[in-house]
């Protein structure tokens, strides 16, 4: 049992008794309801438990300000307790702490005593007065420190300058850097003491015999001692002499009067591109050399094919030229121009060379495609299949492909054939364009409008031509031309298809014939609008005289009242003719029962031709429209 006395300063002291409960703490309740109690703590156990709860460190700081007597009291208590249970381990720590506290207390007490008694020591506040400094002294110090700082800076600058100078003079490191750059862009290998590079397209699938090995040199080795190095880079490449210079493939499409103009096959060497400066950067030089090699390969391939292919007209290879016939009178010449700068200056370029850039580009593309095919095969490729076979060829065995199909499969178009096809197409397209433009300019009456499709490829393109008349735009006729390599397919408005050869006159005739038909259509349309009756309409009539080309189309119309008949005849060669017959409605009517209506009485009368030139109106349709309107009322 513990008793605590509480003192309160304000209230009169009342003794409050705090007792712990007599009931034992329940440790466990059994299933049968029996309770197991914890045995009550003994006096000493209780005390030690409470003592553990005391935080001595906390008390220490609080007690510092308190009179020492209390601490002494505690120590007394401790002293009482210590001998009481010397062997008890838990109390040992408490004892140590208390002992430590006592020591500190005693020291504090001593210090306080010393300070208080003033027998042994005097404590004074420290004076805060700053020492007075002279201006001259200050300046000197600053000067000194500045000098030190400037020395550090100048030393650093000196070092930087030295490094800079070292870098400029030391080409070895520079050379290695450039070599590293070169290594990233080109294939290099080391053979003994030299570094060799490769600029051919062999690794990209080319099978050209000529190699493109170049040597990598150090500029510092080339420049003599003492001489000033003017070159920008410390690395140089030596390119084999056959790849020096500038080369390109010139493609020309010429109109030649004869079947094949051999006289034009002179050695043309336009120096249009100029030469490479000898001190050009190595990357540029290598690229140009690579281009030379590529052009050589391309030309060699084309020349080989030109000799091998047995066409209807032979291809000719003369010097650096390949001549072939595209169409009669049109010649394609492919020229390899290789300008090394060592040739004598030939005074030519008097005639303008018509270089076809598109075809040159296609040639490059074609060869690159060949390279690509040499390396890459069409993707799904089984591991166990033979390399380089297409999927169709691989399946030829299991699906029992016939001999004929296999032969077709193995046939591939050569570069020359492909470029010839492209040339044919481009020539044909240009011709068509010219014909349509000419017709559009010369023929004003129906307006000709051409819409070129932007979706085309190098072998096919299409154009839609539409005819309209000014003021009557609602009447529209159109035809589509599909321009291929050798022929033009024409799809007309009604879906008929006809094929034309490469001769432009055929196309011109066809368009003019279509114009005639368009005009007949216009007249028919007018008849519908004006209420005239169509008596007959023949698109391709066999009447009348034979014309040079085309057929005439005829229309017969009757006016709403039936008293006027109009005949329209349109032919691409002889032009348009219009005739009108007026029936005079006579006064007397025959009493014949066969004559049922008055109009049958006036069948007689002659057709009179109308001079279309002198009729008033902007165009033919306008003129006929006006005439019809006039005849309606008569």
């Amino acid at each position: 049992m513990l008793k605590l006395a509480y003192d309160k300063m304000a209230a009169p002291s009342v003794n409050v008794c705090v007792e712990s409960v007599i009931e034992h703490q329940i440790q466990e309740v059994n299933y049968d309801g029996q309770e197991i109690y914890v045995a009550p703590l003994s006096m000493s156990e209780n005390l030690s438990k409470l003592a553990y709860k005391i935080d001595f460190f906390k008390d220490e700081s609080e007690e510092k300000g308190k009179p020492t007597s209390e601490g002494e009291k505690e120590t007394d208590e401790d002293k009482v307790l210590a001998p009481f249970q010397p062997s008890l381990w838990p109390w040992d720590s408490v004892r140590n702490k208390l002992k430590g506290a006592l020591t500190e207390m005693s020291v504090l007490y001593d210090v306080l005593n010393i300070a208080k008694e003033k027998h042994y020591m005097v404590t004074d506040p420290v004076s805060q007065e700053a020492p007075e400094l002279k201006a001259s002294l200050q300046m000197l110090a600053k000067k000194k420190s500045l000098v030190a700082a400037s020395q550090i800076l100048s030393a650093g600058a000196e070092r930087l300058k030295r490094v800079q100078a070292e870098m400029a003079s030391n080409t070895q490191e520079n050379f290695l850097m450039e070599l590293l750059k070169l290594r990233k862009l080109w294939r290099l290998k080391k053979v003994h003491n030299t570094i060799l590079g490769e600029l051919s397209y062999k690794s990209a699938g080319s099978r050209f015999w000529q190699g493109g090995t170049f040597e990598v040199l150090k500029t510092s080795d080339l420049v003599a001692e003492g001489e000033v190095n003017t070159r920008s880079s410390s690395l140089d490449v030596s390119i084999p002499s056959e790849l020096e210079g500038v080369a390109y493939i010139q493609v020309e499409v010429n109109d030649v009067p004869n079947l094949m103009d051999i006289t034009s096959a002179t050695l043309k060497m336009p120096a249009g591109l100029g030469t490479m400066p000898p001190d050009a950067y190595w990357q540029q030089r290598l690229e140009v050399a690579q281009n030379v090699l590529f052009c050589k390969e391309l030309f060699a391939q084309l020349a080989r094919e030109a000799v091998q292919i047995k066409g209807s007209t032979p291809h000719m290879v003369i010097g650096n030229q390949i001549l072939t016939n595209v169409f009669p009178g049109v010649q394609l010449s492919i020229i390899l121009c290789h300008y090394t700068g060592k040739e004598k200056k030939v005074a030519l370029s008097s005639h303008k060379l018509e270089h076809n850039h598109v075809l040159e580009h296609s040639l490059h593309q074609l060869l690159r495609r060949v390279h690509d095919r040499n390396l890459n095969y069409s993707p799904p490729h089984p591991v166990n299949a033979m390399l380089g076979m297409t999927k169709r060829r691989r399946l030829a065995g299991p699906v029992a492909t016939s001999r004929q199909e296999l032969m077709e499969m193995s046939h591939s178009e050569s570069l020359l054939e492909q470029i010839l096809k492209q040339t044919k197409h481009s020539v044909l397209r240009l011709r068509t364009m010219r014909v349509i433009d000419q017709l559009a300019v010369t023929i004003q009456d129906p307006q000709i409008c051409a819409h070129w499709s932007c979706l085309n490829n190098s072998l096919e393109s299409s154009v839609r031509i539409s005819f309209t008349c000014y003021g009557y735009e609602i009447i529209r006729n159109s035809l589509v031309l599909l321009i291929g390599t050798d022929s033009i397919r024409v799809v007309m408005k009604d879906g008929r298809v006809c094929s034309l050869s490469f001769e432009v006159t055929e196309l011109r005739d066809l368009i003019q014939w279509q114009i005639c038909q368009h005009q007949t259509m216009c007249v028919l349309h007018l008849a519908k609008v004006q209420g005239w009756t169509v008596l007959s309409m023949i698109n391709n009539s066999g009447h009348a005289d034979m014309e040079a080309y085309g057929t005439s189309s005829t229309v017969m119309l009757a006016s709403p009242r039936g008293n006027v008949t109009m005949a329209f005849h349109s032919n691409p060669v002889s032009g348009q003719r219009l005739a009108v017959k007026k029936a005079e409605l006579g006064g007397e009517v025959h009493g014949s029962p066969a004559v049922t209506a008055a109009k049958w009485a006036g069948l007689s009368g002659d057709y009179e031709e109308v001079n279309l030139q002198q009729l008033e109106g902007r165009n033919l349709v306008g003129k006929i429209d006006m005439l019809m309107a006039r005849l309606n009322t008569s």
Binding site: R393, G397, P398, A400, T401, S402, R403, L406
Partner: protein, 205 residues
């Protein structure tokens, strides 16, 4: 590849095979056909070694399908494969062995007559002449039923009355799409007949 029918052209007694072939070629040429090269069909027979019930495997090649190799079992199951299959057979020596002296082939001229391809081949078994096989192919069609009457007319003018009915192997498949395998099956049937005849005549000797 169109529909083709193969017929065995009987060699009359007292005439050699070469003579008959000559006559046939002349006949075809008078019909207006022109030569388009040679053709060659061969058949090799393999016998299974390990199995209790022996199985036969025929390997056929046709010059019309140069990339293919036809492997046909007795049951009629067919495998069409690459020519590399030949190499595979040599690796299977322990299971299938080639029957000695059983290589049979048909060789001859190939003729073209408009849409028809005519092939007159003399059959030889281990180097000795055994008979004549006439093949007529109609290229535009793929279903035998649809062009049989047309073919019959031409066939009857060449081989005569044997061509009254379609070939045995083709009969059940008249309305199916014709495949190169069907032609090979016809050849195989004729080859087997020639072999059996040769086997029959041998013990008598």
């Amino acid at each position: 590849m169109g529909v083709s029918c193969v017929y065995d052209y009987p060699v009359p007694d007292g005439r050699s095979g070469a003579q008959v072939v000559d006559v046939l070629q002349k006949q075809v040429e008078t019909m207006g056909a022109y030569k388009t090269g040679n053709f060659h069909i061969d058949c090799e027979t393999y016998q299974s070694v390990m199995l209790n019930s022996p199985k036969t495997l025929h390997i056929l090649h046709n010059s019309e399908h140069p990339a293919s190799c036809f492997a046909i079992l007795d049951s009629g199951n067919t495998l069409v494969a690459d020519t590399l299959f030949n190499g595979l057979m040599s690796n299977l020596k322990n299971y299938y062995q080639a029957r000695k002296g059983a290589k049979i082939e048909s060789k001859g001229q190939r003729y073209q007559l408009a849409d028809f391809v005519l092939k007159i081949g003399s059959v030889s078994l281990a180097g000795s002449f055994k008979g004549i096989l006439v093949e007529v192919e109609y290229s535009p069609s793929l279903v035998a039923m649809e062009c049989w009457n047309l073919m019959k007319e031409l066939l009857q003018s060449i081989v005569g009355n044997i061509a009254e009915t379609p070939p045995q192997t083709l009969k059940p498949r008249m309305d199916e799409t014709f495949t190169p395998t069907m032609a090979m099956l016809q050849y195989l049937e004729h080859f087997n007949n020639f072999r059996n005849k040769a086997a029959m005549s041998q013990p008598a000797r």
